[in-house]
Amino acid sequence: MNMSVSIPSGVLAAALLCCAAIVHAGDKVERTVAAEARGEVAIVNIAGEVFVEGWDRNEVQVSGDLGGDARLDVTSAGGRTSINVINVRGNHTHSATDLKVRVPRDSALSVNTVSADQIIKDCRGAQRLQAVSGTIATEQWEQELEARTISGEVSIRGHDGVAQTTVNTVSGSVSLLGGSTQFAVETVTGDMRIGVRETGRGRIRTTNGELKFTGKLARDGRLEAEAVNGDLDFTLREPVNAQFDVETFNGDIVNCFGPKPVKMREYAPGNALRFTQGAGDARVRVKTLNGGVEICRE
């Protein structure tokens, strides 16, 4: 109805939208909003990079270069600050938006990205980070951290303090170095490098990834590792006081502590290694199908 009127109106509206998009396309943006010292900051970005840094102000500052089809939406209410990069056209073709976000140092942080890398520094609150086709690099202090990627590497540098770390990648490698005493790391095809100061509770699982573990076992610590095809290497710092229970179906077992593996069944593959080193306070349990296992001291 009223085609003679609506067509010019539509053209005008399209022209205005185009102008608005031009205003945003490739724009440098900077927004600052008040925030609580221990509030929550949630960031979503589709394509590009997210750099988050903790500072000592009770403000959230967002700056960056917006992609051609993107606009920036920043809201803050009830202790929660939301930062969304929104694709104006609503399709799945995104131009990259690079964001630099400063948050109160003790904020809890939640970051979701697609085709975007995350770099996080000096953020000491709890972190929940997810990336689809993007890497995550962060630091951890005393609060818990959960990092999940699909097709993306995860790198965590831990500082002193008791913390819990959960990492889950589909096809991304994991580097967890320092700090955490409780961790759970799981990959499908990604390799893992874990070098924690002391392990209280550790759980590692991979389908085809390989593990290099270096660390000390806490008194009464528990370390469990399971692989289907990947090799699992453990280098343990002295003193080592643990009971070991290692079993593989087809893999080789190398033990630098002395005791040799034994064949478990007469008519089926399978090797097992069970021994106690020192006082035997901690427990180490390792299972593989085809992956080899090596246990040595540093």
Partner: protein, 203 residues
């Protein structure tokens, strides 16, 4: 006085009995036959006696044997029925207890390749997989390829372990790793679904 006089009177019946003869003479002499019988050889009599004793012993032995066999069969049947009754009672008790006990959660798994997965597992997996197919289509092409490749790898691994398990059906390590691989598959599907939806709703 008259009574005594009646008793002293002679009864006619007594008179008749007194007239009956006191002995009867045999019609022939029986002694020669008796003497012949008394003169029979002792060995013959002993043999006859021994034969009788042996026959009785055999009969007693057979009877004892028959008794033993009969009592053994009786005991066997009694015990058999008792055991059957005990077993039946035990089965009934177990069935009753299983009806009273809370249902255990079903562990969905295919061990050995001959048993199908639990229906609950299959439904959950099919549901997750259907959503996964929708979500993965929205991912960037490179990521989509990697994720699909990884999922295929996990499924291939599960199939390999299941095949190996069919050769070594009671291998606990294989069972453990197979279960773990099934869990990895579900975790992968739900992880992609969750993460893709978390960003998709914000577009």
């Amino acid at each position: 006085m008259n009574e005594f006089a009646d008793q002293e009177r002679i009864d006619p019946l007594d008179q008749a009995l007194a007239a009956v003869a006191q002995d009867v003479q045999p019609s022939r002499d029986l002694w020669p036959a008796i003497a012949a019988a008394l003169g029979e050889p002792a060995a013959l009599r002993a043999q006859t006696v021994h034969h009788g004793i042996a026959s009785r012993l055999w009969l007693q032995l057979a009877a004892g044997l028959l008794l033993i066999v009969a009592s053994s069969f009786t005991t066997y049947f009694v015990m058999q029925r008792s055991q059957q009754r005990d077993a039946m009672l035990a089965r009934e008790e177990a069935a009753r207890q299983s009806l009273q006990a809370p249902a255990l959660p079903v562990m969905p798994a295919s061990f050995g390749g001959t048993e199908s997965l639990g229906s609950g597992y299959a439904q959950a997996r099919a549901s997750l997989d259907a959503e996964f197919q929708r979500r993965v289509a929205a991912l960037p092409p490179t990521t989509r390829t990697r994720v699909q490749s990884d999922l295929a790898e996990v499924r291939r691994t599960a199939a390999d372990i299941a095949a190996t398990l069919s050769v070594h059906p009671n291998h606990p390590l294989l069972q453990e790793l197979l279960l773990s691989t099934y869990q990895s598959e579900l975790a992968l599907l739900s992880s992609v679904n969750e993460m893709a939806s978390a960003t998709e709703t914000r577009l």
